[in-house]
């Protein structure tokens, strides 16, 4: 990896100018790709129910607004979330494996996963063991993913690398391949709980990885940047990255997700602006 070249490419794609019809398309697509997330110690059933309602009807004033892809919660909130989105195609994703630090025995992590799956999680967002990775024990990282994948059963598995802790692009690329070889359905940048989360460059790098992995194995893996993407403008730039790196086959919420919360309201305001020609304001979107 050459860091300067990678970042320059990501920045260059960031200068694409997405206007009018393309922008409308991109905003709806971005909304449909959101894993609407709440991962707080203070999460309650009420908070999760509100989140679910928002995922199902992001803009109560405009029923043509797409639903988000999923809601993303802690394992103990999965059952609540399932009820909140029942009867829709909105998925429930659950972080697991001692999220976000991942510092627990494998048995504990697997129990965490099974708990979430048993509660009805459609998707599991696991964290890799960064300690093992950084100490060079890549086999341990790999085997843990394999075990979690097995424990996840039918649930799709997203593997979080915590790119901010892996620190270098070479590490992120290596982690991407370990994750994909171990059976990840998605590779995901970050927990949202550290200083550096999703960036254009680390997402570009992961998009290159899934593109190359499919070319070599025929297996398509999704990508999920998470944390730090807050504006429509940024989200659209990420979609440009997808479009011009992995390609149009990934422009679908089965293969690309945004891990985000506040992003949704900005997308909704931009959507309203496109519809009415007026700039919208925070009072015209819901706070949930």
């Amino acid at each position: 990896m050459d860091a300067v070249g990678l970042e320059a490419r990501a920045a260059a794609l960031g200068t694409r100018s997405i206007k009018t019809s393309a922008k409308a398309y991109a905003i709806d697509l971005a909304i449909s790709m959101i894993d609407l997330t709440t991962l707080e110690g203070a999460d309650t059933a009420g908070k999760v129910r509100a989140l679910g309602a928002k995922a199902v009807h992001p803009d109560p004033t405009d029923r043509t607004t797409p639903r988000t892809a999923a809601v993303c919660v802690y394992p103990d909130m999965v059952a609540t979330a399932k009820q909140a989105v029942a009867g829709t195609d909105v998925k429930v994703a659950s972080v697991a494996t001692a999220f976000p630090a991942g510092r627990a025995a494998l048995d504990v992590k697997l129990a965490d996963v099974r708990d979430a799956v048993a509660a009805g999680a459609d998707e599991i967002d696991m964290v890799i063991d960064r300690g093992a990775f950084l100490s060079g024990d890549f086999m341990k990282v790999y085997e843990e993913i394999v075990a979690v994948k097995e424990a996840s059963g039918q649930a799709r598995l997203k593997v979080i690398f915590e790119t901010g802790e892996l620190s270098t692009y070479d590490n992120i690329r290596r982690a991407s391949w370990i994750g994909m070889l171990a059976g990840a359905d998605f590779i995901k940048t970050s927990t949202g709980k550290v200083g550096v989360n999703a960036t254009p460059a680390n997402t570009l790098l992961m998009l290159e990885a899934v593109r190359d992995f499919r070319a070599q194995t025929g297996v398509q893996v999704g990508v999920k940047p998470a944390g730090g993407i807050r504006t429509s403008k940024d989200a659209i730039k990420f979609l440009v990255l997808v479009n011009e790196t992995a390609g149009a086959d990934w422009l679908d919420n089965h293969w690309f997700r945004f891990g985000a919360s506040s992003l949704l309201n900005d997308l909704l305001m931009q959507r309203q602006k496109l519809a009415t020609g007026r700039y919208s304001g925070p009072d015209y979107v819901t706070v949930d």
């Binding site: 990896m1 050459d2 300067v4 694409r16 997405i18 979609l239 149009a248 086959d249 679908d252």
Partner: protein, 486 residues
């Protein structure tokens, strides 16, 4: 230009047109020569048209300099030289700083103008040409009062009148490379822009007026090769600086033989971009594309020969073709355009002919799938594979979006092939092994070596060639020497 196999979903995220506003630039229906601070008609009244290469629209009618005009401009420059060269360096510096600032202020206007007249994408004029133009003036402005410390002895003297002839590929940037160091060192200038791209130089004349530059310090003579020849041959010119083809460069070298004129030449190239098996592939692909498709390959330092290690050739070519299929060719004013128009019908004919030679000689041609606009001058990004050193497309400078792909087995062979050319302007090296970069860079006979990057420019970085790519350096402290009597 989207690849066909992704047409299905791509049609869903087809970027809508995003044109830069043309209204930021006001092009007059006609322009004169700029001599002694005034716009003036040519002595013989001749004019020529400047055409937008992307549409063939006539942008303006421009006075065409002839011998008499060259003489008049040189006289004006000579007259201005006495006072200009006697100005304290700090005062000359302030004029150049002013020019740099006005260029920054007017950069959007100039970017649009350059895109219209040259055909290159607005993305490039906006993000590369114009920032570099302003930076170049800003850099050399600072030298004007520091020449005693530049390593050329105390109080180095200017040469006098500089006759400068520039090409059409980076009209304003080449002007900056010529004029900024000339003025900083106390010379006065007669500059001839290329006949297909005279407009930005004429706008620059207006910037000189806004900056209050004394009359005659900068003179701009739009015209053809005959005007350039008259300028370089003029007996009262002390310094000749030329950027353009090697053939013309040689002719100029003969013209100035036996005179006192100081000469610098920045000529053609056939740069090798060497990709080793341990290269960062995705970044190398970007570098290859920047190397040969930046400005439609109409770049003297283009990486027009891709030398790829045989063991990764297939993988690299697959990646390259896939990436080429995402390039967007079309309206240069669209902010999403990656590939603009070829500068002129003549250049397009030359590129076309060389590409046909490549095919005739048995190289395998591949062009990115794309629709070319029906008017204007266009050439699809093209690769030739199965190329050897014996092919014309591996030897001749094509000066267009055509990449010749050759393979090598060992670093030794890569270096031998890279150096096997009469040119020596640029080269690229892609490998993650640091010592190999240094070893290969050491052995390459080229004036600029980009390792794990390509086509990067900076006013502080000397640029120029080995061998038939010319002599002298532009940029940096080195660039002062060409304009000093040292």
């Amino acid at each position: 230009m989207k690849s066909e196999n992704s047409a299905n979903a791509a049609s869903a995220f087809e970027y809508a047109p995003a044109p830069e506003s043309r209204s930021v630039v006001d092009i007059a229906p006609s322009y004169g020569l700029f001599i002694d601070g005034e716009f003036t008609e040519a002595a013989d009244g001749k004019v020529f048209k400047s055409v937008s290469p992307s549409t063939e629209e006539v942008l303006s009618e421009v006075a065409q300099a002839g011998d008499a005009d060259v003489d008049r401009a040189v006289k004006a420059a000579r007259k201005a030289f006495e006072k200009w060269s006697a100005l304290p360096g700090a005062e000359r510096a302030k004029y150049l700083f002013r020019i740099a600032r006005i260029i920054q202020e007017r950069s959007r206007e100039l970017a649009v103008l350059e895109t219209l007249d040259n055909g290159k994408p607005i993305k490039e004029t906006r993000d590369a040409d114009l920032p570099l133009v302003a930076a170049h003036f800003f850099y050399y402005a600072g030298w004007a009062d520091k020449l005693d410390h530049a390593g050329y002895g105390a109080n180095p003297r200017p040469l006098g009148v500089a006759g400068q002839v520039i090409p059409w590929n980076f009209p304003l940037l080449m002007l900056a490379w010529k004029i900024a160091p000339a003025l900083a060192t106390g010379n006065t200038v007669v500059l001839k822009p290329a006949e297909t791209t005279p407009l930005s130089a004429l706008f620059f004349a207006d910037i000189c007026r806004q900056a209050g530059l004394p009359k005659g310090v900068v003179n701009i003579l739009p015209g053809y090769g005959d005007a350039g020849a008259a300028l370089t041959a003029h007996p009262d010119v002390n310094k000749v600086a030329f950027t353009g083809s090697t053939a013309v460069g040689k002719q100029i070298a003969r013209t100035v033989a036996g005179t006192d004129k100081k000469l610098t030449l920045e000529l053609g190239g056939k740069g090798a971009n060497i990709v080793f098996d341990d290269a960062p592939i995705d970044q190398a692909v970007e570098g290859i594309i920047t190397g040969i498709f930046f400005n439609q390959g109409q770049v003297c330092c283009a990486g027009s020969r891709l030398l790829v290690q045989e063991s990764i050739q297939d993988e690299l070519l697959d990646s390259l073709k896939r990436r080429l299929s995402t390039l967007r060719l079309g309206d240069p004013l669209d902010k999403n355009t990656d590939i603009g128009a070829i500068n002129s019908a003549e250049q397009l004919a030359r590129i076309t002919a060389l590409a046909e030679t490549g095919e005739a000689e048995g190289a395998e041609r591949w062009s990115a799938p794309c629709e070319l606009p029906t008017s204007g001058y266009w050439f699809a990004p093209t690769l030739f594979t199965n190329v050897t050193q014996a092919h014309t497309v591996a030897r001749d400078e094509i000066f267009g979006p055509v990449l010749s792909v050759l393979s090598f087995r060992t670093p030794e062979e890569a270096v031998a092939k890279a150096n096997n050319t009469q040119y020596g302007l640029s080269a690229g090296i892609w490998t993650e092994k640091g010592s190999r970069i240094l070893a290969v860079a050491n052995r390459l006979r080229a004036g600029v070596v980009w390792a794990n990057t390509f086509n990067k420019f900076d006013p502080t970085s000397p640029f120029g060639g080995y061998k038939e790519s010319g002599f002298g350096r532009e940029g940096g402290r080195h660039g002062l020497e060409a304009y000093l009597d040292v």
